[in-house]
Symmetry: C2
Subunit: 130 residues, 2 copies
């Protein structure tokens, strides 16, 4: 989130700085489908393309393929092709992906603990002017 030191008062938060690790991470897990894929694989361990497609409601083929490619490129999961007929492709989290899964679980815990409060705040905010 910063560029130089950790949380110096003068730190700048440059979202355009591609070298900012936090920025890159948010680009990854902030993605609509990426986190769903990671969690799905975290639960099932290993899944075929069609299993992922079935499990994650609403993904288009294009988005699913694009997402798993991106995650594979990031080293978060492995893609294993079994050259049978028809071909079979399995996806599985790497140790790196598993460690990210833990982080995502923290997010989930915060969400489950506090989103009700957020919802209340929204309702109150919306009641003011309408």
């Amino acid at each position: 989130m910063d560029v130089t030191t950790d949380d110096a008062p003068t730190a700048r938060f440059d979202a355009f700085d591609a070298s900012c690790p936090s920025r890159q991470l948010l680009d990854t897990i902030g993605n609509k489908w990426a986190s769903l894929v990671i969690v799905a694989l975290g639960v099932a361990g290993r899944m075929r393309y069609s299993e992922l497609a079935g499990r994650i409601a609403g993904v288009s083929q294009k988005m699913l393929t694009q997402t798993v490619r991106s995650l594979e490129r990031d080293g978060l999961l492995t893609r294993t092709v079994t050259p049978s007929v028809p071909v079979r492709v399995d996806y599985e989290l790497t140790p790196l992906g598993l460690s990210l899964l833990e982080t995502i679980r923290h997010l989930k815990e915060w969400a489950e603990a506090h989103m009700a409060e957020v919802d209340r705040a929204r309702e109150e905010y919306d009641r003011k002017d309408t």
Copy 2:
């Protein structure tokens, strides 16, 4: 991330389920500017609109306003107007916002600890086919 029980094998990950707390949270912090605003306020404690605009490089007025409005609606920060001339507006994290800041810091820690590994994975992936 789930709909019914915690991580039952049959859990579905429906990104279209608006009631999924994790989904909503990711929509919030996955936002390009929201997390930057939260971290900035976490560092500085309280900031004026113009201070935020100066601190967060690259935000347009429109996006900054839209972001703080959204965060205010979510109960993550407060907006305080001082009716002087010219008017002065301060933003400050709520306790709820501060607790989310902690979660974001976890993300940051993961990023700083592992993004180098991600970068290496990307380089290797890109070297294969080009």
